[in-house]
Symmetry: C2
Subunit: 321 residues, 2 copies
Protein backbone atom coordinates (compact mmCIF):
# COMPACT_ATOMS: atom_id res chain seq x y z
CA UNK A 1 0.00 0.00 0.00
CA UNK A 2 1.42 3.39 -1.01
CA UNK A 3 2.52 5.81 1.71
CA UNK A 4 0.34 8.91 1.23
CA UNK A 5 1.23 10.76 4.43
CA UNK A 6 1.73 14.52 4.04
CA UNK A 7 5.47 14.11 4.75
CA UNK A 8 5.80 11.57 1.97
CA UNK A 9 4.10 13.87 -0.55
CA UNK A 10 6.33 16.86 0.29
CA UNK A 11 8.57 17.75 3.25
CA UNK A 12 11.39 20.05 4.24
CA UNK A 13 14.72 18.55 5.26
CA UNK A 14 17.67 20.64 6.46
CA UNK A 15 19.25 20.77 3.00
CA UNK A 16 16.40 20.08 0.59
CA UNK A 17 12.70 20.02 -0.18
CA UNK A 18 11.92 16.35 -0.78
CA UNK A 19 8.87 15.34 -2.76
CA UNK A 20 7.32 12.25 -4.30
CA UNK A 21 7.89 12.65 -8.05
CA UNK A 22 4.34 12.60 -9.44
CA UNK A 23 5.58 12.33 -13.03
CA UNK A 24 6.75 8.78 -12.30
CA UNK A 25 3.60 7.55 -10.56
CA UNK A 26 2.09 5.02 -10.53
CA UNK A 27 4.91 3.03 -12.14
CA UNK A 28 7.59 4.13 -9.67
CA UNK A 29 7.61 5.79 -6.26
CA UNK A 30 10.70 7.96 -6.40
CA UNK A 31 11.62 10.89 -4.17
CA UNK A 32 13.02 14.02 -5.76
CA UNK A 33 15.40 16.21 -3.71
CA UNK A 34 15.35 19.94 -4.53
CA UNK A 35 18.37 21.71 -3.01
CA UNK A 36 17.44 25.32 -3.80
CA UNK A 37 14.44 27.54 -4.47
CA UNK A 38 15.23 27.31 -8.17
CA UNK A 39 15.14 23.51 -8.04
CA UNK A 40 11.80 23.61 -6.24
CA UNK A 41 10.49 25.99 -8.91
CA UNK A 42 11.70 23.62 -11.61
CA UNK A 43 9.96 20.70 -9.88
CA UNK A 44 6.73 22.73 -9.85
CA UNK A 45 7.14 23.86 -13.46
CA UNK A 46 7.75 20.32 -14.72
CA UNK A 47 4.90 18.87 -12.64
CA UNK A 48 7.00 16.68 -10.35
CA UNK A 49 4.56 18.15 -7.85
CA UNK A 50 1.22 19.60 -9.03
CA UNK A 51 -2.19 20.49 -7.69
CA UNK A 52 -2.87 24.04 -6.53
CA UNK A 53 -2.61 23.53 -2.74
CA UNK A 54 0.38 21.16 -3.04
CA UNK A 55 2.41 23.59 -5.12
CA UNK A 56 1.64 26.29 -2.56
CA UNK A 57 3.06 24.04 0.16
CA UNK A 58 6.09 23.16 -1.94
CA UNK A 59 6.73 26.85 -2.66
CA UNK A 60 6.50 27.66 1.06
CA UNK A 61 9.07 24.97 1.80
CA UNK A 62 11.19 26.34 -1.06
CA UNK A 63 11.17 29.82 0.45
CA UNK A 64 12.04 28.44 3.91
CA UNK A 65 14.88 26.45 2.34
CA UNK A 66 16.14 29.58 0.56
CA UNK A 67 16.10 31.50 3.86
CA UNK A 68 18.02 28.79 5.70
CA UNK A 69 20.59 28.64 2.88
CA UNK A 70 21.01 32.41 2.87
CA UNK A 71 19.66 32.78 -0.68
CA UNK A 72 18.39 36.20 -1.82
CA UNK A 73 14.76 35.99 -0.63
CA UNK A 74 13.32 38.37 -3.22
CA UNK A 75 14.89 36.31 -6.00
CA UNK A 76 13.67 33.07 -4.42
CA UNK A 77 10.16 34.52 -4.12
CA UNK A 78 10.19 35.58 -7.75
CA UNK A 79 11.45 32.29 -9.18
CA UNK A 80 8.92 30.31 -7.16
CA UNK A 81 6.01 32.64 -7.95
CA UNK A 82 6.76 32.41 -11.68
CA UNK A 83 6.84 28.62 -11.80
CA UNK A 84 3.20 28.31 -12.88
CA UNK A 85 0.67 31.06 -13.62
CA UNK A 86 -2.86 29.78 -12.97
CA UNK A 87 -2.96 28.39 -9.41
CA UNK A 88 -3.23 31.33 -7.01
CA UNK A 89 -2.15 29.18 -4.05
CA UNK A 90 1.44 29.54 -5.17
CA UNK A 91 1.58 33.27 -4.59
CA UNK A 92 -0.71 33.02 -1.57
CA UNK A 93 1.64 30.61 0.20
CA UNK A 94 4.70 32.72 -0.63
CA UNK A 95 2.99 35.84 0.70
CA UNK A 96 2.01 33.99 3.86
CA UNK A 97 5.57 32.93 4.49
CA UNK A 98 7.48 35.98 3.36
CA UNK A 99 7.73 37.83 6.66
CA UNK A 100 8.69 34.71 8.62
CA UNK A 101 10.26 32.19 6.22
CA UNK A 102 11.14 29.60 8.83
CA UNK A 103 10.84 25.82 8.58
CA UNK A 104 8.36 25.85 11.48
CA UNK A 105 6.16 28.36 9.67
CA UNK A 106 6.25 26.42 6.40
CA UNK A 107 5.37 23.20 8.20
CA UNK A 108 2.48 24.94 9.96
CA UNK A 109 1.20 26.13 6.60
CA UNK A 110 1.37 22.53 5.33
CA UNK A 111 -0.48 21.22 8.39
CA UNK A 112 -3.13 23.89 7.99
CA UNK A 113 -3.65 23.00 4.32
CA UNK A 114 -4.25 19.37 5.25
CA UNK A 115 -6.57 20.44 8.07
CA UNK A 116 -8.52 22.55 5.57
CA UNK A 117 -8.96 19.45 3.41
CA UNK A 118 -10.40 17.46 6.30
CA UNK A 119 -12.77 20.33 7.12
CA UNK A 120 -13.87 20.46 3.47
CA UNK A 121 -14.58 16.73 3.63
CA UNK A 122 -16.83 17.26 6.64
CA UNK A 123 -18.68 20.16 5.00
CA UNK A 124 -19.12 18.29 1.72
CA UNK A 125 -20.68 15.30 3.46
CA UNK A 126 -24.00 17.11 3.57
CA UNK A 127 -24.05 17.18 -0.23
CA UNK A 128 -24.23 13.37 -0.39
CA UNK A 129 -27.63 11.91 0.51
CA UNK A 130 -27.46 9.73 3.62
CA UNK A 131 -28.33 6.07 3.28
CA UNK A 132 -27.43 5.73 -0.39
CA UNK A 133 -24.25 5.30 -2.35
CA UNK A 134 -23.60 8.02 -4.89
CA UNK A 135 -21.77 7.48 -8.17
CA UNK A 136 -19.40 10.43 -8.33
CA UNK A 137 -17.49 11.60 -11.38
CA UNK A 138 -14.24 13.50 -10.92
CA UNK A 139 -11.57 15.06 -13.11
CA UNK A 140 -7.79 15.36 -12.80
CA UNK A 141 -6.28 14.59 -9.39
CA UNK A 142 -7.51 16.34 -6.27
CA UNK A 143 -6.33 13.81 -3.71
CA UNK A 144 -3.55 13.88 -1.17
CA UNK A 145 -1.01 14.25 -3.94
CA UNK A 146 -2.65 17.49 -5.12
CA UNK A 147 -2.98 19.11 -1.72
CA UNK A 148 -0.07 17.79 0.33
CA UNK A 149 -2.38 15.36 2.12
CA UNK A 150 -6.01 14.09 2.24
CA UNK A 151 -7.30 15.97 -0.80
CA UNK A 152 -9.92 18.52 -1.80
CA UNK A 153 -12.58 17.04 -4.11
CA UNK A 154 -11.12 13.56 -3.69
CA UNK A 155 -10.88 14.17 0.07
CA UNK A 156 -14.60 14.91 0.04
CA UNK A 157 -15.20 11.69 -1.90
CA UNK A 158 -13.10 9.83 0.66
CA UNK A 159 -15.02 11.29 3.59
CA UNK A 160 -18.34 10.47 1.93
CA UNK A 161 -17.18 6.95 1.12
CA UNK A 162 -16.14 6.37 4.73
CA UNK A 163 -19.64 7.51 5.71
CA UNK A 164 -21.21 4.97 3.32
CA UNK A 165 -22.42 7.63 0.92
CA UNK A 166 -20.30 6.82 -2.14
CA UNK A 167 -20.68 3.66 -4.16
CA UNK A 168 -18.43 4.21 -7.15
CA UNK A 169 -16.08 6.83 -8.56
CA UNK A 170 -15.80 7.58 -12.29
CA UNK A 171 -12.27 8.83 -12.91
CA UNK A 172 -11.71 11.00 -15.99
CA UNK A 173 -8.28 9.98 -17.24
CA UNK A 174 -7.54 13.69 -17.84
CA UNK A 175 -5.46 14.14 -20.94
CA UNK A 176 -2.82 15.09 -21.80
CA UNK A 177 -0.94 14.12 -18.63
CA UNK A 178 -3.38 11.53 -17.30
CA UNK A 179 -3.49 12.76 -13.71
CA UNK A 180 -6.78 10.89 -13.34
CA UNK A 181 -5.66 7.56 -14.79
CA UNK A 182 -2.28 7.74 -13.06
CA UNK A 183 -2.75 9.57 -9.76
CA UNK A 184 -6.43 9.53 -8.81
CA UNK A 185 -6.72 5.85 -9.73
CA UNK A 186 -3.60 5.10 -7.68
CA UNK A 187 -4.98 6.91 -4.64
CA UNK A 188 -8.45 5.33 -4.88
CA UNK A 189 -6.87 1.91 -5.32
CA UNK A 190 -4.82 2.47 -2.16
CA UNK A 191 -7.93 3.58 -0.25
CA UNK A 192 -10.00 0.63 -1.48
CA UNK A 193 -12.69 2.84 -3.01
CA UNK A 194 -14.32 1.26 -6.09
CA UNK A 195 -13.63 3.19 -9.29
CA UNK A 196 -13.40 2.99 -13.07
CA UNK A 197 -11.18 5.09 -15.28
CA UNK A 198 -12.89 6.52 -18.37
CA UNK A 199 -11.70 8.63 -21.27
CA UNK A 200 -12.64 12.27 -20.80
CA UNK A 201 -15.03 12.10 -23.74
CA UNK A 202 -17.12 9.35 -22.11
CA UNK A 203 -18.35 11.44 -19.17
CA UNK A 204 -21.36 13.01 -20.89
CA UNK A 205 -22.59 9.64 -22.18
CA UNK A 206 -22.38 8.15 -18.68
CA UNK A 207 -24.51 11.04 -17.41
CA UNK A 208 -27.05 10.43 -20.19
CA UNK A 209 -27.16 6.75 -19.22
CA UNK A 210 -28.06 7.70 -15.64
CA UNK A 211 -24.80 6.31 -14.24
CA UNK A 212 -23.60 9.52 -12.56
CA UNK A 213 -25.13 11.20 -9.50
CA UNK A 214 -22.78 14.15 -9.05
CA UNK A 215 -19.59 15.74 -10.34
CA UNK A 216 -16.88 16.91 -7.94
CA UNK A 217 -13.75 18.77 -8.97
CA UNK A 218 -11.08 20.89 -7.37
CA UNK A 219 -9.97 24.34 -8.50
CA UNK A 220 -6.76 26.14 -9.32
CA UNK A 221 -8.21 29.59 -8.78
CA UNK A 222 -11.68 30.87 -7.92
CA UNK A 223 -12.61 34.44 -8.83
CA UNK A 224 -14.69 36.69 -6.60
CA UNK A 225 -17.84 36.00 -8.62
CA UNK A 226 -17.46 32.22 -8.28
CA UNK A 227 -15.99 31.52 -11.73
CA UNK A 228 -13.66 28.53 -11.37
CA UNK A 229 -10.39 27.94 -13.20
CA UNK A 230 -9.50 24.26 -13.16
CA UNK A 231 -7.86 21.56 -15.29
CA UNK A 232 -8.92 21.78 -18.92
CA UNK A 233 -12.02 19.66 -19.49
CA UNK A 234 -13.77 20.84 -16.33
CA UNK A 235 -15.95 23.32 -18.22
CA UNK A 236 -17.31 20.69 -20.59
CA UNK A 237 -18.12 18.49 -17.59
CA UNK A 238 -20.02 21.35 -15.97
CA UNK A 239 -22.04 21.92 -19.16
CA UNK A 240 -22.92 18.23 -19.33
CA UNK A 241 -23.82 18.15 -15.62
CA UNK A 242 -26.12 21.14 -16.06
CA UNK A 243 -27.82 19.51 -19.04
CA UNK A 244 -28.48 16.38 -16.94
CA UNK A 245 -29.54 18.28 -13.79
CA UNK A 246 -26.61 16.88 -11.82
CA UNK A 247 -24.84 18.76 -9.02
CA UNK A 248 -21.50 20.19 -10.11
CA UNK A 249 -19.56 20.85 -6.91
CA UNK A 250 -16.15 22.50 -6.56
CA UNK A 251 -14.11 21.63 -3.47
CA UNK A 252 -11.16 23.91 -2.75
CA UNK A 253 -9.55 25.60 0.26
CA UNK A 254 -9.82 29.35 0.75
CA UNK A 255 -6.15 29.54 -0.31
CA UNK A 256 -7.55 28.97 -3.83
CA UNK A 257 -9.81 32.05 -3.67
CA UNK A 258 -8.60 35.14 -5.50
CA UNK A 259 -10.98 37.94 -4.60
CA UNK A 260 -8.67 40.26 -6.54
CA UNK A 261 -9.89 38.57 -9.72
CA UNK A 262 -13.41 39.85 -10.35
CA UNK A 263 -14.29 37.08 -12.80
CA UNK A 264 -12.83 34.17 -14.73
CA UNK A 265 -11.65 36.44 -17.52
CA UNK A 266 -9.12 37.91 -15.06
CA UNK A 267 -7.46 34.53 -14.46
CA UNK A 268 -4.38 33.76 -16.59
CA UNK A 269 -4.67 30.39 -18.35
CA UNK A 270 -1.41 28.52 -18.72
CA UNK A 271 -0.57 27.29 -22.23
CA UNK A 272 1.78 24.35 -21.91
CA UNK A 273 4.10 22.74 -24.45
CA UNK A 274 2.09 21.35 -27.41
CA UNK A 275 4.34 18.29 -27.30
CA UNK A 276 2.42 17.15 -24.23
CA UNK A 277 -0.45 16.54 -26.71
CA UNK A 278 1.45 15.30 -29.76
CA UNK A 279 5.07 15.49 -30.83
CA UNK A 280 4.28 14.93 -34.49
CA UNK A 281 1.75 17.58 -35.52
CA UNK A 282 0.75 21.11 -34.55
CA UNK A 283 -1.22 21.28 -31.31
CA UNK A 284 -2.69 23.67 -28.75
CA UNK A 285 -2.38 22.82 -25.08
CA UNK A 286 -4.32 25.09 -22.70
CA UNK A 287 -3.83 23.49 -19.29
CA UNK A 288 -6.91 25.00 -17.65
CA UNK A 289 -10.35 26.31 -18.49
CA UNK A 290 -12.87 28.52 -16.72
CA UNK A 291 -16.28 27.29 -15.58
CA UNK A 292 -18.76 30.15 -15.13
CA UNK A 293 -20.26 30.43 -11.68
CA UNK A 294 -23.72 29.91 -13.18
CA UNK A 295 -22.83 26.24 -13.76
CA UNK A 296 -21.51 25.65 -10.22
CA UNK A 297 -24.01 24.15 -7.79
CA UNK A 298 -21.84 24.78 -4.73
CA UNK A 299 -18.29 25.67 -3.74
CA UNK A 300 -17.01 23.89 -0.64
CA UNK A 301 -14.17 25.49 1.32
CA UNK A 302 -13.01 24.77 4.87
CA UNK A 303 -15.38 27.57 5.90
CA UNK A 304 -18.44 25.71 4.69
CA UNK A 305 -20.67 25.19 1.65
CA UNK A 306 -21.08 28.36 -0.42
CA UNK A 307 -23.84 28.90 -2.91
CA UNK A 308 -24.80 31.66 -5.33
CA UNK A 309 -24.61 34.60 -5.18
CA UNK A 310 -20.92 33.82 -4.79
CA UNK A 311 -19.80 37.45 -4.55
CA UNK A 312 -21.22 37.55 -1.03
CA UNK A 313 -20.81 33.92 0.03
CA UNK A 314 -17.13 33.79 -0.99
CA UNK A 315 -16.35 37.18 0.53
CA UNK A 316 -17.56 35.81 3.85
CA UNK A 317 -15.39 32.72 3.44
CA UNK A 318 -12.31 34.80 2.74
CA UNK A 319 -12.84 36.69 5.98
CA UNK A 320 -13.09 33.50 8.04
CA UNK A 321 -9.89 33.15 10.05
Amino acid sequence: MPDLTPERIVRLEPDAVVLLDQRRLPAEEIELRCASAAEVAEAIRTLAIRGAPAIGVAAAYGLALAASRGEDLDAAYDVLAAARPTAVNLRWALDELRDDPTPAHARALHDEEVARCRAMGRHALGLFPAGSGARVLTHCNTGGLATGGYGSALGAVRAAWEAGRVEHVWVDETRPLLQGARLTAWELDALGIPFSVIVDGAAAALMAAGEVDSVLTGADRIAANGDVANKVGTYGLALAAMHHDLPFVVVAPTSTLDLGAAAGADIPIEERDPEEVTDRFAARNPAFDVTPAALVTAIVTEAGVHRAPYESSLAIAARTP
Copy 2:
Protein backbone atom coordinates in the same frame (compact mmCIF):
# COMPACT_ATOMS: atom_id res chain seq x y z
CA MET B 1 3.00 12.80 -49.41
CA PRO B 2 0.86 9.86 -48.33
CA ASP B 3 -1.10 7.93 -50.95
CA LEU B 4 -4.75 8.27 -49.96
CA THR B 5 -6.38 6.85 -53.07
CA PRO B 6 -9.36 4.57 -52.45
CA GLU B 7 -7.32 1.58 -53.69
CA ARG B 8 -4.59 2.29 -51.18
CA ILE B 9 -7.05 2.46 -48.28
CA VAL B 10 -8.71 -0.86 -49.17
CA ARG B 11 -8.83 -3.01 -52.30
CA LEU B 12 -9.63 -6.51 -53.49
CA GLU B 13 -6.88 -8.60 -55.08
CA PRO B 14 -7.44 -12.09 -56.48
CA ASP B 15 -6.34 -13.79 -53.27
CA ALA B 16 -6.77 -11.16 -50.57
CA VAL B 17 -8.37 -7.99 -49.30
CA VAL B 18 -5.46 -5.56 -48.92
CA LEU B 19 -5.75 -2.57 -46.64
CA LEU B 20 -3.59 0.16 -45.16
CA ASP B 21 -3.16 -0.82 -41.51
CA GLN B 22 -4.60 2.18 -39.68
CA ARG B 23 -3.29 0.94 -36.33
CA ARG B 24 0.25 1.72 -37.49
CA LEU B 25 -0.42 5.20 -38.87
CA PRO B 26 1.08 7.75 -38.90
CA ALA B 27 4.36 6.12 -37.86
CA GLU B 28 4.32 3.44 -40.57
CA GLU B 29 2.42 2.89 -43.81
CA ILE B 30 2.02 -0.85 -43.90
CA GLU B 31 -0.39 -2.93 -45.98
CA LEU B 32 -2.24 -5.79 -44.33
CA ARG B 33 -3.28 -8.76 -46.50
CA CYS B 34 -6.43 -10.59 -45.38
CA ALA B 35 -6.74 -13.96 -47.14
CA SER B 36 -10.23 -14.96 -45.95
CA ALA B 37 -13.49 -13.50 -44.68
CA ALA B 38 -12.37 -14.38 -41.16
CA GLU B 39 -9.15 -12.44 -41.60
CA VAL B 40 -11.07 -9.43 -42.91
CA ALA B 41 -13.40 -9.66 -39.92
CA GLU B 42 -10.37 -9.78 -37.60
CA ALA B 43 -8.91 -6.69 -39.32
CA ILE B 44 -12.21 -4.87 -38.73
CA ARG B 45 -12.51 -6.06 -35.14
CA THR B 46 -8.96 -4.98 -34.28
CA LEU B 47 -9.35 -1.63 -36.08
CA ALA B 48 -6.76 -2.20 -38.78
CA ILE B 49 -9.56 -0.59 -40.81
CA ARG B 50 -12.22 1.52 -39.07
CA GLY B 51 -14.79 4.16 -39.86
CA ALA B 52 -18.35 3.11 -40.60
CA PRO B 53 -18.31 3.44 -44.41
CA ALA B 54 -14.80 1.95 -44.71
CA ILE B 55 -15.66 -1.16 -42.74
CA GLY B 56 -18.73 -1.59 -44.94
CA VAL B 57 -16.48 -1.53 -48.01
CA ALA B 58 -13.98 -3.91 -46.40
CA ALA B 59 -16.79 -6.31 -45.48
CA ALA B 60 -18.12 -6.21 -49.05
CA TYR B 61 -14.66 -7.09 -50.35
CA GLY B 62 -14.45 -9.80 -47.69
CA LEU B 63 -17.70 -11.39 -48.89
CA ALA B 64 -16.55 -11.19 -52.52
CA LEU B 65 -13.27 -12.82 -51.54
CA ALA B 66 -15.14 -15.56 -49.69
CA ALA B 67 -17.28 -16.21 -52.76
CA SER B 68 -14.28 -16.42 -55.07
CA ARG B 69 -12.53 -18.79 -52.64
CA GLY B 70 -15.60 -21.01 -52.38
CA GLU B 71 -16.07 -20.30 -48.66
CA ASP B 72 -19.48 -20.95 -47.08
CA LEU B 73 -21.19 -17.62 -47.79
CA ASP B 74 -23.57 -17.72 -44.84
CA ALA B 75 -20.66 -18.29 -42.49
CA ALA B 76 -18.65 -15.52 -44.16
CA TYR B 77 -21.62 -13.16 -43.86
CA ASP B 78 -22.01 -13.99 -40.18
CA VAL B 79 -18.36 -13.60 -39.23
CA LEU B 80 -18.13 -10.27 -41.05
CA ALA B 81 -21.43 -8.93 -39.68
CA ALA B 82 -20.36 -9.79 -36.13
CA ALA B 83 -17.01 -7.98 -36.34
CA ARG B 84 -18.33 -4.76 -34.80
CA PRO B 85 -21.83 -3.93 -33.53
CA THR B 86 -22.47 -0.19 -33.79
CA ALA B 87 -21.80 0.84 -37.40
CA VAL B 88 -24.80 -0.17 -39.49
CA ASN B 89 -22.83 0.18 -42.73
CA LEU B 90 -21.27 -3.21 -42.07
CA ARG B 91 -24.53 -5.11 -42.35
CA TRP B 92 -25.84 -2.76 -45.03
CA ALA B 93 -22.87 -3.50 -47.29
CA LEU B 94 -23.13 -7.25 -46.71
CA ASP B 95 -26.85 -7.19 -47.52
CA GLU B 96 -26.14 -5.17 -50.67
CA LEU B 97 -23.59 -7.71 -51.86
CA ARG B 98 -25.19 -10.95 -50.71
CA ASP B 99 -27.13 -11.81 -53.86
CA ASP B 100 -24.24 -10.99 -56.20
CA PRO B 101 -20.99 -11.29 -54.25
CA THR B 102 -18.68 -10.60 -57.17
CA PRO B 103 -15.51 -8.51 -57.20
CA ALA B 104 -17.10 -6.12 -59.71
CA HIS B 105 -20.10 -5.58 -57.43
CA ALA B 106 -17.90 -4.98 -54.37
CA ARG B 107 -15.76 -2.50 -56.30
CA ALA B 108 -18.88 -0.70 -57.50
CA LEU B 109 -20.07 -0.42 -53.91
CA HIS B 110 -16.69 1.07 -52.99
CA ASP B 111 -16.86 3.55 -55.89
CA GLU B 112 -20.38 4.54 -54.88
CA GLU B 113 -19.34 5.12 -51.28
CA VAL B 114 -16.58 7.51 -52.42
CA ALA B 115 -19.02 9.22 -54.81
CA ARG B 116 -21.42 9.69 -51.90
CA CYS B 117 -18.63 11.41 -49.97
CA ARG B 118 -17.99 13.86 -52.80
CA ALA B 119 -21.71 14.59 -53.04
CA MET B 120 -21.85 15.21 -49.29
CA GLY B 121 -18.97 17.64 -49.64
CA ARG B 122 -20.91 19.58 -52.28
CA HIS B 123 -24.08 19.66 -50.18
CA ALA B 124 -22.21 20.69 -47.03
CA LEU B 125 -20.60 23.64 -48.78
CA GLY B 126 -23.75 25.67 -48.31
CA LEU B 127 -23.33 25.37 -44.53
CA PHE B 128 -20.09 27.38 -44.66
CA PRO B 129 -20.54 31.12 -45.22
CA ALA B 130 -18.98 32.27 -48.49
CA GLY B 131 -16.16 34.78 -48.33
CA SER B 132 -14.94 33.88 -44.85
CA GLY B 133 -12.79 31.16 -43.36
CA ALA B 134 -14.48 29.08 -40.72
CA ARG B 135 -12.71 27.49 -37.79
CA VAL B 136 -14.12 23.98 -37.71
CA LEU B 137 -13.83 21.50 -34.86
CA THR B 138 -14.00 17.79 -35.61
CA HIS B 139 -13.79 14.54 -33.68
CA CYS B 140 -12.29 11.14 -34.48
CA ASN B 141 -11.37 10.46 -38.11
CA THR B 142 -13.91 10.92 -40.86
CA GLY B 143 -11.51 11.33 -43.76
CA GLY B 144 -10.59 9.08 -46.64
CA LEU B 145 -9.33 6.46 -44.21
CA ALA B 146 -12.76 6.22 -42.56
CA THR B 147 -14.81 5.98 -45.73
CA GLY B 148 -12.55 4.25 -48.24
CA GLY B 149 -11.79 7.58 -49.93
CA TYR B 150 -12.41 11.35 -49.65
CA GLY B 151 -14.24 11.36 -46.32
CA SER B 152 -17.57 12.31 -44.78
CA ALA B 153 -17.22 15.18 -42.26
CA LEU B 154 -13.55 15.62 -43.16
CA GLY B 155 -14.48 15.41 -46.84
CA ALA B 156 -16.89 18.28 -46.27
CA VAL B 157 -14.11 20.23 -44.53
CA ARG B 158 -11.85 19.52 -47.48
CA ALA B 159 -14.44 20.69 -50.00
CA ALA B 160 -15.07 23.86 -47.99
CA TRP B 161 -11.33 24.50 -47.62
CA GLU B 162 -10.84 24.15 -51.36
CA ALA B 163 -13.62 26.74 -51.78
CA GLY B 164 -11.84 29.14 -49.40
CA ARG B 165 -14.40 28.71 -46.65
CA VAL B 166 -12.26 27.00 -44.00
CA GLU B 167 -9.41 28.73 -42.20
CA HIS B 168 -8.42 26.26 -39.49
CA VAL B 169 -9.39 22.83 -38.21
CA TRP B 170 -9.39 21.93 -34.51
CA VAL B 171 -8.73 18.21 -34.28
CA ASP B 172 -9.92 16.42 -31.14
CA GLU B 173 -7.24 13.84 -30.45
CA THR B 174 -10.04 11.32 -29.67
CA ARG B 175 -9.01 9.06 -26.86
CA PRO B 176 -8.46 6.23 -26.30
CA LEU B 177 -7.18 5.31 -29.75
CA LEU B 178 -6.25 8.81 -30.95
CA GLN B 179 -7.87 8.59 -34.37
CA GLY B 180 -7.85 12.40 -34.45
CA ALA B 181 -4.23 12.92 -33.44
CA ARG B 182 -3.00 10.04 -35.59
CA LEU B 183 -5.28 9.80 -38.63
CA THR B 184 -7.12 13.11 -39.07
CA ALA B 185 -3.94 15.09 -38.42
CA TRP B 186 -2.07 12.90 -40.92
CA GLU B 187 -4.74 13.46 -43.60
CA LEU B 188 -4.98 17.22 -43.02
CA ASP B 189 -1.19 17.48 -43.07
CA ALA B 190 -1.13 15.68 -46.42
CA LEU B 191 -3.83 17.98 -47.80
CA GLY B 192 -2.08 21.12 -46.54
CA ILE B 193 -5.08 22.26 -44.49
CA PRO B 194 -4.06 24.20 -41.34
CA PHE B 195 -4.97 22.43 -38.12
CA SER B 196 -4.15 22.02 -34.45
CA VAL B 197 -4.63 18.88 -32.40
CA ILE B 198 -6.27 19.43 -28.99
CA VAL B 199 -7.13 17.13 -26.12
CA ASP B 200 -10.80 16.22 -26.16
CA GLY B 201 -11.39 18.15 -22.95
CA ALA B 202 -10.21 21.44 -24.50
CA ALA B 203 -13.01 21.72 -27.06
CA ALA B 204 -15.57 23.44 -24.83
CA ALA B 205 -13.07 26.05 -23.65
CA LEU B 206 -12.14 26.88 -27.27
CA MET B 207 -15.82 27.43 -27.99
CA ALA B 208 -16.13 29.70 -24.95
CA ALA B 209 -13.11 31.67 -26.19
CA GLY B 210 -14.86 32.27 -29.54
CA GLU B 211 -12.30 30.23 -31.47
CA VAL B 212 -14.75 27.75 -33.02
CA ASP B 213 -17.36 28.50 -35.71
CA SER B 214 -18.86 25.07 -36.22
CA VAL B 215 -18.56 21.41 -35.26
CA LEU B 216 -18.63 18.67 -37.90
CA THR B 217 -18.62 14.95 -37.15
CA GLY B 218 -19.42 11.73 -38.94
CA ALA B 219 -21.72 8.99 -37.69
CA ASP B 220 -21.66 5.25 -37.17
CA ARG B 221 -25.42 4.88 -37.21
CA ILE B 222 -28.29 7.34 -37.48
CA ALA B 223 -31.71 6.35 -36.17
CA ALA B 224 -34.97 7.23 -37.92
CA ASN B 225 -35.58 10.16 -35.55
CA GLY B 226 -32.16 11.68 -36.24
CA ASP B 227 -30.38 10.47 -33.09
CA VAL B 228 -26.73 9.94 -34.02
CA ALA B 229 -24.40 7.24 -32.69
CA ASN B 230 -20.79 8.25 -33.16
CA LYS B 231 -17.38 7.98 -31.51
CA VAL B 232 -17.57 8.51 -27.74
CA GLY B 233 -17.12 12.19 -26.95
CA THR B 234 -19.41 13.39 -29.72
CA TYR B 235 -22.35 13.91 -27.36
CA GLY B 236 -20.38 16.21 -25.05
CA LEU B 237 -19.26 18.22 -28.08
CA ALA B 238 -22.86 18.60 -29.19
CA LEU B 239 -23.89 19.83 -25.74
CA ALA B 240 -21.08 22.38 -25.73
CA ALA B 241 -21.94 23.49 -29.27
CA MET B 242 -25.57 24.01 -28.30
CA HIS B 243 -24.55 26.04 -25.25
CA HIS B 244 -22.44 28.30 -27.48
CA ASP B 245 -25.02 28.54 -30.29
CA LEU B 246 -22.67 26.85 -32.75
CA PRO B 247 -23.86 24.63 -35.60
CA PHE B 248 -23.38 20.93 -34.87
CA VAL B 249 -23.46 19.16 -38.23
CA VAL B 250 -23.34 15.42 -38.91
CA VAL B 251 -22.03 14.32 -42.31
CA ALA B 252 -22.72 10.69 -43.22
CA PRO B 253 -23.82 8.69 -46.26
CA THR B 254 -27.28 7.14 -46.41
CA SER B 255 -25.56 3.77 -45.84
CA THR B 256 -25.25 4.99 -42.22
CA LEU B 257 -29.01 5.47 -41.83
CA ASP B 258 -30.88 2.77 -39.93
CA LEU B 259 -34.56 3.54 -40.27
CA GLY B 260 -35.21 0.25 -38.47
CA ALA B 261 -33.90 1.90 -35.31
CA ALA B 262 -36.60 4.28 -34.13
CA ALA B 263 -34.26 6.20 -31.82
CA GLY B 264 -30.78 6.20 -30.35
CA ALA B 265 -31.81 3.84 -27.56
CA ASP B 266 -32.22 1.13 -30.22
CA ILE B 267 -28.58 1.37 -31.31
CA PRO B 268 -26.15 -1.10 -29.69
CA ILE B 269 -23.12 0.65 -28.19
CA GLU B 270 -19.89 -1.31 -28.43
CA GLU B 271 -17.96 -1.71 -25.18
CA ARG B 272 -14.32 -2.32 -26.06
CA ASP B 273 -11.47 -3.73 -23.99
CA PRO B 274 -10.82 -1.54 -20.91
CA GLU B 275 -7.11 -2.02 -21.57
CA GLU B 276 -7.45 0.46 -24.43
CA VAL B 277 -7.93 3.06 -21.66
CA THR B 278 -5.53 1.77 -18.99
CA ASP B 279 -3.84 -1.57 -18.42
CA ARG B 280 -3.24 -0.90 -14.72
CA PHE B 281 -6.59 -0.08 -13.16
CA ALA B 282 -10.28 -0.85 -13.71
CA ALA B 283 -11.79 1.07 -16.62
CA ARG B 284 -14.91 1.38 -18.75
CA ASN B 285 -14.54 1.81 -22.49
CA PRO B 286 -17.75 2.58 -24.38
CA ALA B 287 -16.60 3.21 -27.95
CA PHE B 288 -19.61 5.29 -29.01
CA ASP B 289 -22.26 7.57 -27.62
CA VAL B 290 -25.62 8.83 -28.84
CA THR B 291 -26.32 12.48 -29.61
CA PRO B 292 -30.05 13.27 -29.48
CA ALA B 293 -31.48 14.72 -32.66
CA ALA B 294 -32.45 17.87 -30.76
CA LEU B 295 -28.76 18.84 -30.60
CA VAL B 296 -28.11 18.24 -34.32
CA THR B 297 -28.32 21.37 -36.51
CA ALA B 298 -28.27 19.41 -39.76
CA ILE B 299 -27.50 15.96 -41.13
CA VAL B 300 -25.77 15.94 -44.52
CA THR B 301 -26.09 12.86 -46.72
CA GLU B 302 -25.39 12.46 -50.41
CA ALA B 303 -29.09 13.25 -50.90
CA GLY B 304 -28.75 16.72 -49.43
CA VAL B 305 -28.95 18.68 -46.19
CA HIS B 306 -31.59 17.33 -43.83
CA ARG B 307 -33.06 19.27 -40.94
CA ALA B 308 -35.56 18.57 -38.19
CA PRO B 309 -38.05 17.00 -38.13
CA TYR B 310 -35.68 14.19 -39.09
CA GLU B 311 -38.34 11.47 -39.18
CA SER B 312 -39.58 12.92 -42.45
CA SER B 313 -36.37 14.42 -43.85
CA LEU B 314 -34.37 11.20 -43.34
CA ALA B 315 -37.16 8.99 -44.67
CA ILE B 316 -36.99 10.96 -47.91
CA ALA B 317 -33.21 10.54 -48.02
CA ALA B 318 -33.46 6.80 -47.58
CA ARG B 319 -35.81 6.57 -50.55
CA THR B 320 -33.43 8.49 -52.81
CA PRO B 321 -31.86 6.00 -55.23
